[in-house]
Amino acid sequence: MDIGVLLVYGILGLTVIVSAVGLIVSRNALYSALFLVVNFVAVGLLYLALGAPFIAFAQVTVYAGSIMVLFIFVIMLLGAENLMLDEPLRGQRALGILLVVIFLAEIVLYYLLRTTPLQAIPAIPQTFASPAEIGMLLFNRYLLPFEVTAFILLAATVGAILLSKHEGPTRPKPGIQKPETPVEG
């Protein structure tokens, strides 16, 4: 393979890993959020390389765009940048240890997997995963799941408004309203 291409993939992969590590080690939640944006964009570029332009742009607009804006908004609203915290929740830790064990098993399994013919990705035709094709599928085979996402967004909108609505006379100054659910681009 071309050395230039390899270099690009190497840098992309490195960006993904470094930004992920940055997310979990940085003490300031705001930096974590920015690392996550970098991670999302890098993964979005990988999607582009995998011949999925629609997903790549949805990734950038929905994840790196609206979701991260919400995150940063809430971090700044709550002033939660610098919570110095070290010890995790009891149950979370147990669950997490289990997951890490699973993951270690997975790494071992990966080496087993190398022996199978699962290697190179075949050349991707130009029309594959074009927005038009995805749209066709969404409104044919995937019509029912597509409608179900509408209920999820409805429930999330009702829930988010209800939870962040400031009610009662305990604190008379108007509460800050949370923005609506981000909707798909």
Partner: protein, 99 residues
Amino acid sequence: MPMSYYLILSAAMFAIGVLGVILRRNPLVVFMSLELMFNAANLVFVAFSAYHQILDGDLFVFFVMTTAAAEVAVGLALMVAIFRAKRTIDLDEMSMLKG
């Protein structure tokens, strides 16, 4: 690129996400690490979608993004609500329910 590139990358992202969930106690950071885990799964879907040349994986990712958006809205609203009630979101302060 070979499949293994994407699989390793996604496995690493997943593991880092899990570590973030275990090690960090700021619920906002835990939540972001969760997004990392979802992202790892999405990468596997898209990579295998290209490998099999079947679009189902791409569609799955589209739906995951939608639910992630909804989940973030609800999760952050809960955190705003707890902050209003207690003036903190430190999970350690939530001792009321333990024991």
